[in-house]
């Protein structure tokens, strides 16, 4: 990606590009670092690699989605069409043992300007591609989400209907039980009327004893009839 024989302006251009696309390294510097082999990757190959990486990411994303296999295949298929629509170009060249052949020239783009001219559109294409992929994924997600929501909505509606049916049944049961209880209460009233009067009877007995005391203490000595029920005067 860089050129050894054109330091000067080319170095400045490389620096400026490195701000956008990466860093420029001298061959000597690479050698000092122990790098013996360098793969020179062409534009089309880089595009291919980018597509492969994106395709791999799409596959991983598709795997992670909780959707049917059919949907996954459809999603991946559409992604493949978009990502891999351009044919594969030249394969990358391998420079064997660069340390043994120090004079070997790395095959590089003809000029920095060309390199820059090619690199920028490639990045834009990748960005566009990723945006498209993102849109696709988002669309599929929305679609899946909608279907899931529809499914949930349908289930919720069915559940609500079922709850309503059960509520109606419950109300009907309550009514039947209440009616039965009222009827039973009426029967009890008829069969055992005195049970409901026991408190009244105890109260009468208490009042009779209170009256007895009052009469005895002279508070009500002239009214012997206030002793209702229990006993009679001498």
């Amino acid at each position: 990606m860089t050129s050894e024989n054109r330091p000067g302006t080319s170095e400045q251009n490389a620096r400026s590009r490195s701000k956008q696309n990466g860093r420029v390294h001298h061959v000597e510097e690479l050698r000092r670092k122990g790098i013996q082999k360098v793969r020179v990757v062409g534009q089309s190959q880089l595009q291919e690699l980018a597509r492969e990486a994106v395709a791999r990411a799409v596959l991983e994303l598709a795997e992670s989605l909780e959707v049917s296999e059919e949907t996954k295949k459809s999603l991946v298929g559409r992604a493949q069409e978009t990502i891999l629509k351009e044919s594969r170009e030249e394969l990358p060249e391998i420079i064997d043992e660069p340390a043994m052949k120090p004079d070997v020239q790395l095959k590089t783009p003809s000029t920095d300007a060309e390199s820059t001219a090619v690199s920028l559109p490639m990045a834009l294409q990748d960005q566009e591609m990723l945006k498209e992929l993102s849109r696709l994924i988002a669309r599929d997600w929305r679609s899946e989400l909608n279907s899931v929501q529809d499914s949930h909505r349908a289930q919720v509606e069915r559940l609500e209907m079922r709850i309503e049916e059960l509520t109606r049944a419950l109300r009907a049961t309550d009514q039947v039980l209440t009616r039965g209880k009222e009827e039973k209460g009426t029967e009890d009233l008829v069969l055992m009327p005195f049970d409901h009067k026991k408190e009244e009877l105890l109260d009468q007995l208490f009042q009779a004893n209170v009256a007895l005391r009052e009469i005895s203490s002279g508070l009500d000595s002239e009214d012997g009839t206030s002793m209702d029920g229990e006993g009679r005067s001498a």
């Binding site: 009067k197 009877l201 208490f206 029920g229 229990e230």
Partner: protein
Amino acid sequence: MNMKLNKNTQNESDIGITPVDGSTAAIKIGIDLGTSRSAICSSKGERLVMASVVGWPKDAVSAKVFGRRVLVGDAVLENRMALKTCFPLANGNLAFSGKEGQEQETLRKAGLHLFSALRMAANPNEKQAVHAVIGAPAEATRENKQAIIDLAREAGIEGVMVVSEPFAVAYALDALEDAMVVDIGAGTIDLCRMAGSLPGVEDQLTVFHAGNDVDARICELIREKRPEVQFSRNMIKQAKERFSSVVDTNKRAMVRFPVNGKPTEIDITAEIASAVGELVPHITEGIQKLVSSFDPEFQHRIRNRVIVSGGGSQVYGLQEALEKGLAELGGGNVEIVDDPVYAGAQGALKLAQEMPEEYWQQLGEDQ
């Protein structure tokens, strides 16, 4: 020597046990105050029946023998030769209210000791209040009832209510409507018709011909037939309770009474049967009075359920004799209670327990 305590524990199904909150919750008791015998049932499960009699040692010797200044209950009858005895009740009422002077004071003290003994039978704790419903004769006067309340209060019973004895029996049996209760005691026979409300004066009747009159009649008949035989009223009473019958049976009432100091076997079957049989017309007449004064539409209901309680209900053949007597007046069904001795006290206890607590508090404050 000691008072015989018949502390039979009641069945839980018979009576509710009031939960006692520490030592301060009031004990509820029901008392059947009888001329001859009094019964008590308590919310702690105590039951006791005792002779309604009080005795004081005749002299210093007997006081030393008994070790106490006064005796109450069956112990008095057992040791009456060494005691001055007093029956505080006559015809179901406290006897002192109709007397004067020393006699009145003695009867009043006897009544007080009787109530004290009944209270102690409930076995209250030292600081525990006692609330009592006391059964009185159906036709007890206001003065009689007030005398009962005053004496019971003086004996340490904090809350007192008086109720007619047959009503207490009806309450015990839940026979609160369409029924007639006949309580045959020693001093009176009390009748009460139950029509679903608190019985009034018109619903109750007292027949003053009861167990003591039967005893007296048996004595008369034996004296008429065998004037040489020596016996006491108590001996006749015991024989009556053992052999009494109003129907002919093969069982003979054979007793050993002294004749000129020599124990002699005597047959008194006819005398007992005759005297006891004389009760039946009194009872059927009382039933008829109460039935005939009732709403004609419902007379058959109370006639068809005549419930007999009290010691007199144990007379053999009484049920058949009463039904026979009722047949002549239009018919009726008679049933004898299972527990005649305690039925009244148990009903009184039931009333005491079911009475709202605030009523007891009010009575305790006012009385």
